[in-house]
Amino acid sequence: MTEPRWTPYAVLVAIALLAALPSMTSSNYVVGIAISGLIFLAAAASLNLVYGYAGQLSFAQLGFWGVGGYCAAIAVVDLGQSFWFGIAFAGVVNLLLSAVIGIVITRTTRHAFVVVTLTFALLAGLIARDWVGVTRGPLGIPGLPPPSLMGFVFDTSARFYYIALAFSLIALAFLYVLKTSRIGLILKAVKQNDPLVESQGIAPGPYKLAAFVIASVITGMAGGIYAFNLKVIDPSFLDFYYMQTFLIIVIIGGAGSFWAVVLAGAAMVVLPEALRFSNELRMVIYGVVLVAVMMFMPRGVSGWLEDRRIAALRKALR
């Protein structure tokens, strides 16, 4: 789908508003939600790369999220490194891990892909709980210090917010460039028609692998930042709840559609908070929305809109 011509202006306005948000409110609660929203959005957008673009339903993102969180925490607390090193460390570990996993599983069937990625995510949760020597088991690693940069300490929500904002914008910008490049074009071609891609001289393997790895690195770094937002990491960081949240954002927006997923991310984080639902009720609503979308518009809002557009076009052509 082509973007409306005003898209760049809308993006600039959105960025300006986001940058001004901490000065517009004194509520730590609002800023806190915005931090979560920005980080979740980056993770969801990278899931969109794997599922929406490459067509692989990966539950492994939850595992990479957790690995990233733990790597960052351990780098700071146990290795005495800075927050920035920790985030980079999270990215590098996820790069290696996802490359190893990806080389093996991008060759399997889609059934096997789902099962193996799901298992990896659960395994990561078990390791967080059981490998007490490294992860400190169920107690987790509390007291993660606030990041600092050249003497400036990001010790309030409003300050930490800018780390989340910067990360999210960089990640989304990168994914946008990827999406609109030849690579994005070919990735979505792979999803639509794998044999045709091969018949045109493009081996799909490297593209699927690249999508998987890039998504894992971004998700891992997002996890690292989120852990420092929470100031503690324990096995609940690998709760299936996070995976469900990322999935919901991608599914509602419409897998494979960049802006729709960004908008859906904003909506799904802000709306339930604005309506002050309890956590359980929010997840029930997520579930209802997920089922409803799957039943009535399986390609999400953007897919539904596109179908309307194509139907209109067909009519016009007749």
Partner: protein, 263 residues
């Protein structure tokens, strides 16, 4: 004349059933060669085998001088042989232009850095590819729809798009699997003209098709398959007058068939 494609003793069986057994033939460089045969004679399997979508049980396939036996489809396509599919395949949600861009070889072979950083080289290659794509869309007569998603096309139009995509990769040989099945009969001659024009630029064709008129008007040579074996080959006129071909198509039981084939 040199051969652009040489198929030698190719065999393929599916759980004991021989779909192709010991078929050999050549496609001469610069020619349009037809591959015909009754349903189940192994045409599709033959194409799958030479394009790498099926692994061979035995035999060799040469593209020009290069041995492509057992290579992956993508490697074979890069080596210069592009195939289309019987059940037409296009990227449904992409515009016709994007359909062709994906297929373009210059675009395909751009490195990742250029693609991500949008270097001048990238833009140059992309613009050139776009020009070429628009030219091909004109050639197959779909100009009006070039920015519409491919899903709105009719079956026949999709066949034309698939052909344009095959051209986009600048191949030496195009293997077309039923290019006019489902195409509006009034447009079959147009398709034949387009193929002739492409052929005049030096591209060789191997065409599987049931439309006998189409094959006769277009092909320099026709190969007839029956039950996974080559029955005969010759000019369209020779094939037309060969009683064995008629019998193969009409399926008349003929005890001597085995001997005739063996000879």
């Amino acid at each position: 004349m040199t051969a652009i494609l040489s198929v030698a003793d190719v065999s393929k069986a599916f759980s004991g059933v021989h779909a192709v057994q010991g078929t050999s033939f050549e496609v001469e460089a610069g020619s349009i060669t037809g591959l015909i045969g009754p349903n189940g004679s192994g045409k599709s399997t033959t194409i799958d085998c030479i394009s790498g979508f099926q692994t061979l049980d035995a035999g060799r396939v040469l593209l020009g001088e290069r041995d492509i036996t057992g290579q992956r489809p993508a490697e074979i396509a890069k080596a210069g042989m592009i195939r289309t599919f019987q059940n037409v395949r296009v990227y449904d949600s992409y515009s016709l232009l994007d359909n062709l861009l994906v297929a373009g070889e210059a675009f395909r072979d751009l490195n990742w850095f250029d693609a991500l950083a949008r270097t001048p080289r990238y833009r140059r290659v992309r613009d050139a590819a776009e020009d070429r794509a628009r030219g091909l869309i004109d050639l197959v007569g779909l100009t009006r729809l070039s920015d519409a998603p491919a899903t709105v096309l009719s079956y026949g139009q999709k066949k034309l798009l698939a052909f344009a995509a095959a051209m986009m990769a600048k191949p030496r040989l195009i293997v077309l699997d039923e290019p006019v099945a489902g195409v509006n009969p009034t447009r079959v001659n147009e398709v034949a003209d387009i193929l002739r024009k492409a052929n005049a630029t030096g591209i060789s064709f191997l065409i599987v098709e049931h439309n006998v008129e189409f094959i006769n008007s277009l092909c320099h040579k026709v190969i007839v398959l029956e039950q996974g074996r080559k029955l005969t080959e010759g000019t369209p006129a020779q094939i037309r007058n060969d009683p064995r071909v008629l019998e193969a198509y009409l399926g008349i039981a003929r005890p001597a068939a085995a001997e005739a084939e063996a000879s």
